[in-house]
């Protein structure tokens, strides 16, 4: 009986914590639906009764949103595509072969993950400017791929190692070539790993702020995070129009949240097997 009461109490505690934790997300959506007059009140409105999508309309009327969306989509697609290919090949190399320089490569991969973007941005700026790639999709993409490849190699390595090489050898005994055996046996088993690392790369590229800030100096060329920050700053010169700012934040956040909720199971298992398993 005592154990049951304790369980109920803990359950209630979990729900209270859940409500506290989700509050900022709720508050963003709530405020985005309320007119600014209501938000100017000193008493917050906790339920958006009589709310409207006007704030969204005004935020979207700022034509730069769609330009930034296009920029974000192109950079993310390029980064994810190349990142997955490069990381996949790299992961196969380090988990299927023992070769000279392997340990050095692994150390390099681990150390690169720790390089703070803020610690390299001057050099990256000089380099990208030197190649006349500032304000371009390619300039930012190159840096994103390099930043994300190490972790995705590390994630995929766990998956590749998880498929026993014996399976491939058995297929080779049955007459398949080494490449054929790999493609027919191992590759399909790697699909969850590829999805997980693709999602990781997507989230990194889509949300990245610092590199974009440095490598996209023109105000007319922005990714969504830069657009949102600019939107907030522009709004702050007057009394901040929180309704519009929250609508803009919702526009940037909701696609990521929806996507994340769909794929999160795979992402978590991928992160865990990449980080924990051998």
């Amino acid at each position: 009986m005592r154990a049951r009461t304790a369980r109920t109490l803990l359950g209630a505690l979990a729900i209270v914590i859940a409500l506290v934790w989700v509050f900022p997300v709720y508050w963003m959506v709530n405020s985005s639906l309320l007119p600014n007059v209501t938000l100017q009140s000193f008493v917050p409105t906790f339920v958006p009764l009589g709310g409207s999508f006007e704030n969204f309309a005004s935020a979207l009327a700022d034509g730069e949103f769609f330009a930034a969306l296009g920029m974000s989509v192109s950079i993310t697609l390029i980064a994810v595509f190349f990142c997955i290919i490069f990381a996949f090949l790299g992961a196969v190399a380090i988990s299927r072969f023992r070769f000279r320089g392997r340990t050095s490569f692994i150390i390099a991969v681990l150390v690169v993950q720790m390089l703070p973007a803020e610690g390299l941005f001057i050099a990256q700026y000089k380099m990208v400017a030197g190649a006349h790639l500032l304000d371009s999709v390619i300039g930012v993409s190159i840096i994103y791929i390099a930043a994300v490849v190490p972790f995705t190699i590390w994630m995929l390595r766990g998956f590749v190692a998880g498929v026993p090489a014996d399976l491939e050898e058995a297929a080779m005994v049955d007459g398949l070539s080494r490449f054929g055996a790999f493609m027919r046996i191992t590759f399909p088993l790697l699909a969850p790993g590829l999805v997980a690392s693709g999602v990781y790369a997507f989230l990194q590229a889509w949300n990245e702020f610092t590199v974009a800030l440095v490598l996209l100096p023109s105000e007319s060329v922005q990714t969504l995070p830069l657009w949102l920050r600019g939107f907030v700053q522009a709004s702050a010169t007057r009394a901040t129009d929180w309704g519009q700012v929250m609508a803009a934040s919702t526009l940037v956040a909701v696609p990521v949240i929806v996507f994340f909720l769909i794929v999160q199971g795979r992402l978590t298992s991928g992160l865990v097997s990449g980080a924990v398993k051998g």
């Binding site: 369980r7 359950g11 979990a14 729900i15 914590i17 859940a18 934790w21 900022p24 997300v25 508050w27 963003m28 405020s31 938000l39 100017q40 000193f42 090949l89 790299g90 190399a93 072969f97 490569f105 150390v111 993950q113 390089l115 703070p116 973007a117 803020e118 610690g119 390299l120 941005f121 001057i122 000089k126 190159i142 840096i143 390099a146 930043a147 050898e169 080494r178 889509w206 949300n207 702020f209 610092t210 969504l224 995070p225 949102l228 920050r229 700053q233 901040t240 929180w242 700012v245 929250m246 803009a248 934040s249 919702t250 956040a253 990521v256 996507f259 994340f260 909720l261 980080a275 924990v276």
Partner: protein, 302 residues
Amino acid sequence: MTATVDRRRTNRAPYLLLIPAVGILLVGMGYPLIWQVVTSLQEYGLKQQFGQPAPFVLFDNYVELATDAQFWTVVAKSIAFCLVTAVITLAVGVLFALLMNAVGRAPRIILQIALLLAWSMPVVAAMTVWIWLFDRRRGAVNYLLDMIPGVDINRFNWLETPTTFFIVASVIVIWMSVPFVAFSSFAGLTQVSDEVLEAAALDGANGRQRFFGIILPMIKPVIAIVFLLQIIWDLRVFTQITMLQDAGSKSSEFDLLGTYIYKLGTKSQDFGMASAVSILVLAITILLSWFYIRSLLKEDES
């Protein structure tokens, strides 16, 4: 895979497979890193930006930094911020994981969805919401705190003094990072077998003994890695600080290492000094995470 594999191909194949990854890493990270190291040994100020040759000054930039009290203040603040935030994140995350493990299905799913929503918020969007929540006059935080009897916090400006500014930053970073810790620890906890725990309970182990004797050792590898990742991330926190500065004050009192380097590089245009700071940050990060690298390498060999 030893006997059946053609030796000649084994020798060449891994190098071919690594070419794209190594190539992009050299371009995107390697070259900038080397440039940064070289520049940190040069005088690279405004004149050099306009084409003057950059003279080598060896360790002058580092010496200047090492004798600059402001730099050490920023370093100390960053490390303190990083450790406090990472420790609280870890403690809260593990407690949440234990809670998920202890409650029934419905509360667990509700808590998990709430954490997932927080986890998936893009950082720039999350920052705008938090700044709105902490708004001096119309923010929900001040309003709710004000309702507590005896607390008079109306119009309190959180972003005005460094201490409250960093408390807000820490709260936000913890809010964003706890879900990752909670889910990773929860995944670790599901590996702990119920039978072992029941056997221990039958042998008379109480809850605390079971936690420290059985559960904690089993999830220790997960916790170690998650903690070190937190340290790496919290040391280089940039977006959060920048956006809080947008909303409050850009004064140097509110800088951590990330924003400090950024300002050196963009405002004062002193690339030499900024590079030297970057290299020091890299060194600090690697020092703090060396244990992590070693444990991962060991695991890889086994």
